[in-house]
């Protein structure tokens, strides 16, 4: 898995949402109008009447009634023994430690395993429970006819949908909250004393990465050393090959208390790296490859080389280079030592360039964008932990919304299957669908694939057809890809909700890369789910079990 937090583009997100919502709304409206002609010429009028009535219903929502329904829903969930899930959770945690703790395990591995265990346990227990609750609530009410006692009261259908969603969300909040607190205490108690120091949340400032090749010419990526995983690319030692990070938004506030050999306790930047070593020969086995960082002022091009350090591969926090606020370095051109002020002389308008080079000949250092960051003040482990927990909670809330909406027009088992399918597709098949939609999938779209299969044509060979036929196939594929794109967009992207890797790797959860998109996705599904549930409940025959 590539751990590379990228900020979510909210403008693009809203744009996509409007496009998908608009397309879906137009499709539904056109289909409804077409179907309404079956009722005669008055049909379309009835469609618009329903629409106006919906606007009235929505504008007259009573929060009091919604809350009352939510409380009833929560009570019903408790009556259905939803809280028994705590029992399973307790059993898991009572025995989990038997299989997780190993004597002398590396601190970071220990933390990662425990955090992943807690989040997996919570997700796996909470999601099926809320899925079942949400999908079976309304169908059971309809079956038992208890919904009549509600709909005959002055309650709007939209309030029933909202009340259900809110009620299950309350239960979800309680379950996730209790499990989260228990999980947090459990991790805190299980982690060995030696590893406790690493139980924190780093707050990184990431830069933009670019490369120079071995001749010193700009390159988009470094060298591929044959690693199957292409996340990192490599720079060759003792050549001009350089990796350059451009940082922005640095200021006096980015300086932290640090400790250096020469200056002792002082203030400065903490530059953390996480490079990978690749050796073409063993070299000096018992020491890491040497790396040198050079600070460059982007405005004045002032270069300040830092002392070389040994790369401690995969050792995370062992690779922190303290950069004091007052730097003394040897200027090889002027042939004398110079002293500069980091904030005034090296950082220009909050911008700083840091270059990394490998010093060992015939050896390579591998790097990706998140492999260098400026580490600002660490936060308490609880901060990241509970932020990541909000991801599980939000995912459960989305499941509740989809489940409730589905249960308004489907029976319990079918609604469960549908919501489960949405969960699985949103969680696991995103990458595959992305490839199909973007056209990166080998062998082209559906029509091209059918042609290739029938004629046994290899995926990598060009189509052996005339230009017109090829063009037609490609065009129909493009059309169908737009359809697949629309379908893909209707499935929630659950990848944002998995925030546990942040905490497991000792980072605070990034707001713009994880929390913001998660809330955006939840909000994006709230409106269509409420509308879908409302219309389904409003238009369906409640006597039909």
């Amino acid at each position: 898995m590539n751990f590379d937090p990228r900020a979510f583009d909210i403008v693009q997100g809203v744009g996509t949402w409007l496009k998908v919502m608009g397309a879906c709304a137009i499709l539904v409206l056109v289909a409804s109008l077409a179907a309404s002609f079956g009722l005669g010429l008055g049909g379309p009028v009835r469609v618009f009447r329903q629409l106006f009535s919906a606007i009235r219903d929505i504008s007259e929502i009573s929060l009091r009634r919604v809350w009352a329904l939510a409380v009833l829903t929560a009570r019903e969930a408790i009556r259905r023994k939803a809280l028994l899930v705590f029992g399973l959770f307790a059993i898991l945690f009572m025995f989990g430690s038997w299989f997780l703790s190993g004597g002398g395990e590396k601190a970071d591995i220990q933390i990662e395993r425990h955090v992943v265990f807690v989040f997996t346990a919570i997700s796996w227990l909470v999601l099926p429970v809320v899925l079942m609750l949400a999908c079976w609530g309304i169908p059971e009410d309809i079956k038992a006819r208890s919904i009549h006692t509600v709909v005959t009261k002055p309650v709007r259908r939209v309030e029933i949908v909202l009340g259900r969603m809110l009620g299950f969300t309350l239960i979800t909040t309680l379950v996730v909250g209790v499990m989260g607190v228990a999980g947090y205490i459990w991790i805190d108690r299980q982690i060995s004393r030696e590893a406790h120091g690493q139980l924190l949340c780093k707050v990184p400032i990431y830069g933009k990465l670019s490369f120079l090749d071995r001749q010193g010419q700009p390159a988009s990526i470094g060298i591929n050393v044959g690693d199957v995983w292409t996340f990192r690319s490599y720079i060759e030692g003792s050549t001009k090959a350089t990796a350059i990070w451009d940082f922005e938004r640095l200021s006096e506030a980015s300086l932290m208390p640090i400790s250096t050999k020469d200056q002792g306790e002082t203030r400065g930047l903490r530059v953390q790296t996480g490079f990978e070593s690749f050796r073409t020969h063993k070299g000096v086995m018992n020491s890491g490859l040497l790396c040198q960082l050079t600070l460059v002022n982007p405005a004045t091009s002032l270069r300040v080389p830092l002392p070389a350090f040994e790369v401690a591969e995969y050792r995370g926090d062992a690779n922190v280079t303290p950069v004091p606020a007052t730097l003394t370095y040897y200027d090889s051109e002027a042939r004398k030592s110079k002293t500069v002020d980091l904030v005034k002389d090296v950082i220009a308008d909050g911008k700083l360039k840091i270059e990394a080079r490998c010093l060992n000949g015939e050896q390579f250092l591998g790097m990706a964008r998140p492999d260098m960051f400026i580490r600002t003040a660490d936060r308490h482990f609880a901060v990241g932990f509970f932020k990541a927990l909000s991801g599980v909670w939000l995912q459960a809330v989305v499941i509740v919304m989809i489940g409730v909406a589905a249960s308004c027009f489907l029976k319990g088992p079918i609604a469960t299957l549908m919501t489960f399918a949405v969960l699985i597709v949103g969680q696991s098949f995103r990458t595959m669908i992305d490839k199909i939609v973007s056209g990166d999938q080998l062998g082209g779209g559906p029509f091209e694939s059918i042609y290739r299969m029938v004629t046994h044509l290899n995926q990598t060979v060009d189509l052996d057809l005339s230009k017109t036929v090829t063009g037609t196939i490609k065009w129909t594929d493009w059309i169908s890809q737009q359809g697949i794109w629309l379908v893909q967009q209707t499935f929630p992207n659950f990848s944002y909700f998995g925030m546990s890797p942040y905490v497991a790797k000792g980072f605070d959860v990034d707001f713009r890369a994880a929390i913001l998109p998660s809330f955006a996705v939840a909000l994006a599904y709230f409106i269509p789910c409420v509308l879908l549930g409302y219309f389904a409940l409003k238009l369906r025959e409640l006597e039909s079990k």
């Binding site: 025995f95 038997w98 992943v116 199957v228 070593s277 063993k282 086995m285 018992n286 995969y314």
Partner: protein
């Protein structure tokens, strides 16, 4: 059709369940108390007799058993998914999750020996090689060994697993490129915080040498192999030689580390005694009847005749087995290593190489030359040494270092020098010696 009410039907089902349960309980009743199998049910007795019960394979882990039951018939699918995840995590260097995947896999397949074998080897050899720092590499070698140790606890009747663990403790730690560090770390773990400057007690509770720890594990493997020889594919003579080879390797490693004192001498003597008196006297069964390795050709003839077997076939087989285990070589070597001439030659060459690294070229040249002279005498005295790879490597390395010194001193290499014939005849191993020289000295 059916006149029974729902409740009545349920009661009927319950009754049928109870009726069916009774014979299952009677037939499959497990043994109670410590007595013989008399009070066991027939099925349970048969299970014991034919070694069919899960507990016959080793310990039964309750969590693992519970997990397999919960998965119903999906154990295979779950295991497949975990294998593919483990693969993905290894490729993407997600080590913590890889370790968790491996643990989960063995929960599902606790008695699938190949899984233990493969994953133990994967951790000790592949994952360790993916790390850069020697201490980190050692950590993963240990993880591999610990994994195999856990495997043999759960499968305590399988000889293959202690054998694999022995290979990691012995060969991997003692023969990897990083062997000097690994051997030291085995006694003094680099994780000072956790092990307070001592060894990792899980693998080395006695704080002993890695080869001696391996020897203990190999002895366990031999015991299991004796009880169930059919579980091992390897030749029995070869499989059973490992504990004794470990003792010899221990002695050899002491010398590689520059211990030319009583400790190495005692180790060689102990090695000789065990090789000849224990291993050499073990009875093996060949196609022509029982034999042991400590036999001269004359003894072989006598034994074949006494058993009424074809003398040629019998002798051929035993000689072949002696060659497979390099029995005569190790017997001779352990004997010769105790000889003063041999010890002196080793010491001179070892000291010469050390002096070279320190930059004392003339002292190194002198020590190496004297070592080479003694080695030439050894080759003349013990012909078997001329076909011994390790002796040849040591001799060639001495000459290589000596010639490098002459080059550095701008002196010509004489046409004739001690071991010149050996050096000329074994140019094929020079690349190996060059790369070792580069590694040891940091020079090109």
């Amino acid at each position: 059709m059916n006149r029974l009410t729902s409740r009545q039907r349920k009661l009927v089902y319950l009754g049928v369940i109870v009726v069916l349960l009774a014979p299952i309980i009677i037939l499959g009743r497990p043994k109670s108390g410590t007595g013989a199998t008399a009070d066991q049910g027939v099925l349970a007795q048969m299970r014991t007799r034919y070694d069919l019960g899960e507990n016959q394979l080793g310990q039964v882990d309750p969590t693992s058993a519970a997990m397999n039951l919960v998965l119903l018939g999906f154990r295979g699918i779950a295991a497949d998914l975990l294998w593919s995840q483990a693969d993905e995590n290894e490729q993407t260097k997600n080590w913590a999750e890889l370790r968790a995947n491996v643990d989960a896999i063995i929960m599902l397949q606790p008695h699938f020996v190949r899984v233990w074998q493969f994953q133990g080897w994967n951790l000790a050899y592949n994952v360790s090689a993916a790390w850069d720092l020697v201490a980190d590499r050692f950590y993963w070698v240990k993880e591999g060994a610990k994994f195999l140790k856990k495997g043999r606890d759960i499968n305590d009747k399988i000889a293959q697993l202690p054998y694999e663990e022995g290979r990691v403790l012995g060969t991997k730690i003692g023969r990897a490129d990083e062997w000097k560090f690994y051997r030291a770390y085995f006694k003094k773990d680099p994780n000072e915080e956790a092990f307070k400057g001592g060894p990792d007690p899980e693998l080395n509770p006695k704080g002993t040498d890695n080869y001696l720890a391996a020897k203990d594990v190999y002895l366990v493997a031999n015991e299991l192999q004796k009880a169930r020889p059919d579980t091992i594919q390897m030749l029995d003579v070869l499989f059973r030689s490992y504990p004794y080879r470990s003792q010899l390797n221990y002695a050899d490693a002491l010398q590689r580390e520059g211990h030319f004192d009583e400790s190495s001498q005692t180790a060689w003597e102990e090695g000789y005694r065990e090789w000849v008196e224990k291993f050499g006297q073990e009875k093996f069964y060949g196609p022509n009847g029982p034999y042991h390795l400590e036999m001269s050709e004359h003894d072989m003839g006598d034994m074949a005749e006494a058993q009424g077997k074809d003398v040629d076939a019998f002798t051929r087989w035993v000689l072949q087995m002696q060659n497979e285990t390099r029995y005569p070589y190790w017997k001779f070597r352990s004997q010769a290593e105790s000889a003063k001439l041999m010890v002196d030659a080793h010491k001179l060459i070892y000291d010469g190489e050390k002096q070279f690294v320190k930059g004392n070229l003339s002292t190194a040249r002198d020590l190496l030359f004297r070592g080479m002279t003694l080695y030439e005498q050894l080759f003349a005295k013990y012909e078997v040494l001329t076909s011994d790879d390790e002796a040849l490597e040591e001799a060639m390395t001495a000459v290589y270092y000596w010639q490098r010194i002459l080059k550095l001193e701008f002196k010509p290499i004489p046409a004739q020098f001690p071991l010149s014939v050996v050096y000329a005849n074994h140019q094929g191993i020079l690349p190996l010696i060059e790369s070792r020289f580069k590694r040891e000295t940091g020079q090109d």
